[in-house]
């Protein structure tokens, strides 16, 4: 991806060579990839700043709450408690908020998110490294399945629009997208797990069976998939309806485009038209939606992982909140947000690979 550096290929404009630094930077910034990455970095910075001040300015400031807790529970003096809190939160209590912020950013840049409050000695970043991959895996798999399946079904609906198939699938997708994903999760759990006993709810808890030794064995992989099955199923159920409807509408729009008619007049085979002319153009708007969807699903994973006792970052966030482990909470929230930003970035870059128009103008 990095090797591809499209420069403005406008046919008329012959770039004037210039060695001016500002000019150079501006041209560099005109590059879609550079600009997108830059924007993502700014967003991440804004989110970090936002969380930092949020945690400190909120009523019931967690630092104060924690200090109170230490004084009451562990009989520390205020100063002791305060310095303990400061070291775990990674800030200097005597410094001004701005210095604290700068210091905090410095730690962050080194990947230091502080220490867990409830289990001291454990670095938050290590906890995150333990739990995050499972969420990326299950959410990613769920998105992949729902996106491809939804896009395929949506295309079928558009090709068969206003037939029985279209009406039925439209209704189904409306219902699927209307009901919250955790409600689907509850239904699946109660109906198929508890009532019909198609699967053993207890056995599927966790990310893999405790008896398994992690490794790249087929057995372990199968076990991991088995445990991810329910969350993934819920992510797919909860988001496929949206993909179907959007792809349907987008495809109906694309089918009316001039170039599709011209492609038919050119005698192209219907499969070629479907893939390279209709499908590819119709799926473009879906990539903008991908960004919104990723955030939504990762956000919802807190409930889904908690429901299925799947030990990902969402259930870790819930755990740290219920334990009032503020450093973990802050770190996890940051990481979740950064994951969303990075996924959006990837969706954007993918989009630019698919649509030559955005590489130059930068506008979708």
């Amino acid at each position: 991806m990095a090797t591809h550096t499209p420069t403005a290929p406008a046919l008329e404009a012959a770039p004037v060579p210039s060695f001016h630094l500002l000019d150079y930077l501006r041209r560099f910034y005109a590059n879609y990839t550079v600009r997108t990455i830059f924007k993502a970095l700014v967003t991440i910075w804004a989110v970090i700043t936002f969380t930092f001040f949020l945690i400190r300015l909120m009523p019931g400031n967690p630092v104060e709450v924690y200090v109170d807790f230490l004084m009451n529970q562990q009989n520390m003096t205020y100063d002791e408690a305060y310095s303990r809190a400061a070291s775990q939160f990674r800030f200097d209590p005597d410094a001004s908020p701005v210095t604290q912020y700068v210091e905090y950013m410095g730690h962050l840049l080194q990947g230091d998110l502080g220490e867990s409050i409830t289990s001291s000695g454990t670095r938050v970043i290590d906890q995150i490294a333990r739990f995050l991959p499972w969420t990326i895996f299950s959410v990613g798999l769920g998105l992949l399945i729902s996106f491809t399946l939804g896009a395929t079904l949506g295309t079928i609906m558009a090709y068969k629009r206003n037939t029985f198939i279209d009406h039925t699938l439209s209704l189904i997708s409306s219902i699927l997208s209307a009901v919250p994903n955790y409600i689907w999760g509850l239904m699946i759990l109660i109906i198929f797990g508890v009532q019909l006993r198609w699967f053993n709810v207890g056995e599927l808890r966790g990310t893999y069976s405790p008896t398994m030794t992690p490794g790249f064995t087929l057995e372990f992989l199968g076990d991991v998939l088995k445990h991810a099955m329910l969350p993934v199923l819920v992510y797919v159920t909860g988001s496929i309806g949206g993909w179907m409807l959007n792809m349907r509408n987008s495809t109906i729009g694309t089918l009316g485009e001039d170039y599709v008619g011209v492609a038919r007049a050119r005698g192209l085979t219907s499969s070629r038209i479907l893939l390279a002319y209709v499908g590819r153009n119709a799926s473009l708007p879906m990539f903008t939606l991908l960004a919104i969807n990723i955030g939504f699903i990762i956000g919802g994973s807190v409930i889904i992982e908690e429901l299925f006792v799947y030990k990902g970052i969402g259930s870790f966030l819930y755990w740290s909140i219920s334990q009032r482990d503020y450093t973990s909470m802050q770190g996890v929230f940051l990481i979740i947000t950064i994951s969303v930003v990075v996924s959006n970035l990837m969706a954007d870059l993918l989009y630019s690979r698919l649509d030559p128009r955005v590489r130059v103008s930068g506008e979708k």
């Binding site: 001039d258 170039y259 008619g261």
Partner: protein, 351 residues
């Protein structure tokens, strides 16, 4: 592709140089309000290398007619009657009888069409050259070197810089450049017929001019036939060797350019020509055709033009006039051709 398909060869009633023969073609659009009779009993011949212009008001059925030649009518359209015979290398086939795969191969390699108002004829996400290659591949031509050479050659022919356009995406070209590329794409497979449905309406006058010149030059070199649809009568006169006037889905007059422009015998053709402003003519002498184009769901009885016709008689209200050949190759459908001729001469004297 499917070897087993036996071509249903129609008995060859066509003269040697006729490549497209339309016989009694009728087309309706089925709508909730009733059937729109967009084409009624149309018959005409198209010869090799000639340019036939279709003129007529908006809604008269020009696009419908030409879409039927490549079987690209919308789903709501039904061909209720007639044949469209197409002849190549001595074999004559009815286009309406072709299988789906046959019609797919017929499109573009035998008959290419530039659609009306198709500003985005090119897929925005593929390079122009990929779309040329796509077209060639769909018709079994996969020799990359040949495709590239042919593409570059055609770009030169339409006066585009081949190197620049070859790698370009559609959005990197101007409207005029795209239209020229489309013309180049149109003749990629050496079709016998190119249908141009108002190919220059969206372009400025200079670009229009350039495109017309390019078209003429291409036709001279490649010797294909053109069906040319335009509201610009001067352009039609310049491009065409034959002209057909279409009114309410029927061909009401057909003949050589001279026949139509100087010896027209149908009052509608007269009206069309008189409604074009000319430098030599006073503004108030401009004549417009009174009334509205007819409702094609319930068209008028007799001659469909009679409600708007200044020569209409009682006979016109009852009997539809047949298309009669007055001079060799000049046909008109009117009961009062003599009155039209007299009026035409009177107008000419005024000018």
């Amino acid at each position: 592709m499917i070897g087993a398909v036996k071509p249903t060869i129609v008995e060859n009633t066509m003269k040697n140089d006729v490549i497209l023969q339309v016989q009694d073609l009728s087309i309706v659009y089925q709508t909730p309000r009733g059937d729109v009779m967009a084409t009624t009993d149309v018959s005409f011949d198209l010869r090799k290398g000639e340019t036939m212009a279709l003129i007529g008001e908006s809604g008269s059925g020009k696009t419908t007619l030409s879409l039927s030649f490549i079987r690209m009518l919308p789903n709501s359209a039904r061909v209720t009657k007639g044949k469209i015979l197409y002849s190549r290398d001595g074999v004559t086939r009815d286009i309406l009888e072709m299988s789906d795969n046959e019609i797919r191969r017929f499109r573009w390699s035998d008959c290419a069409m530039v659609f009306q108002g198709a500003q985005n004829a090119f897929n925005p996400v593929l390079r122009v050259r990929q779309q040329f290659a796509d077209t060639a591949a769909a018709h079994g031509k996969t020799d990359k070197a040949w495709i590239k050479q042919r593409t570059l050659e055609l770009f030169k022919l339409v006066r585009l810089d081949p190197e620049r356009v070859y790698e370009a995406y559609p959005h990197e070209m101007s409207g005029g450049m795209r239209q020229r590329s489309l013309l180049a794409l149109g003749v990629l497979l050496d079709p016998q017929i190119v249908i141009l449905d108002e190919p220059t309406t969206a372009l400025d006058i200079l670009t229009q001019r350039a495109i017309i010149d390019v078209l003429k030059e291409m036709q001279q070199r490649l010797n294909f036939s053109i069906i040319f649809i335009s509201h610009d009568l001067a352009l039609a006169a310049e491009m065409a060797s034959r002209v057909a006037t279409v009114y309410a889905g029927e061909i009401v007059e057909e003949g050589s350019v001279e026949d139509i422009f100087y010896r027209h015998r149908h009052p509608y053709t007269l009206g069309l020509i008189r409604s074009v402003p000319r430098l030599s003519r006073q503004q108030d002498e401009l004549m417009s055709i009174p009334g509205e184009p007819p409702n094609l769901i319930t068209p008028p009885s007799g001659c469909k033009f009679h409600p708007r016709c200044m020569f209409a008689s009682d006979k016109c209200k009852v009997d539809p006039p047949p298309l009669v050949e007055y001079e060799p190759g000049h046909r008109a459908a009117c009961w009062h051709t003599d009155k039209v001729a007299a009026a035409r001469i009177a107008f000419a004297a005024q000018d």
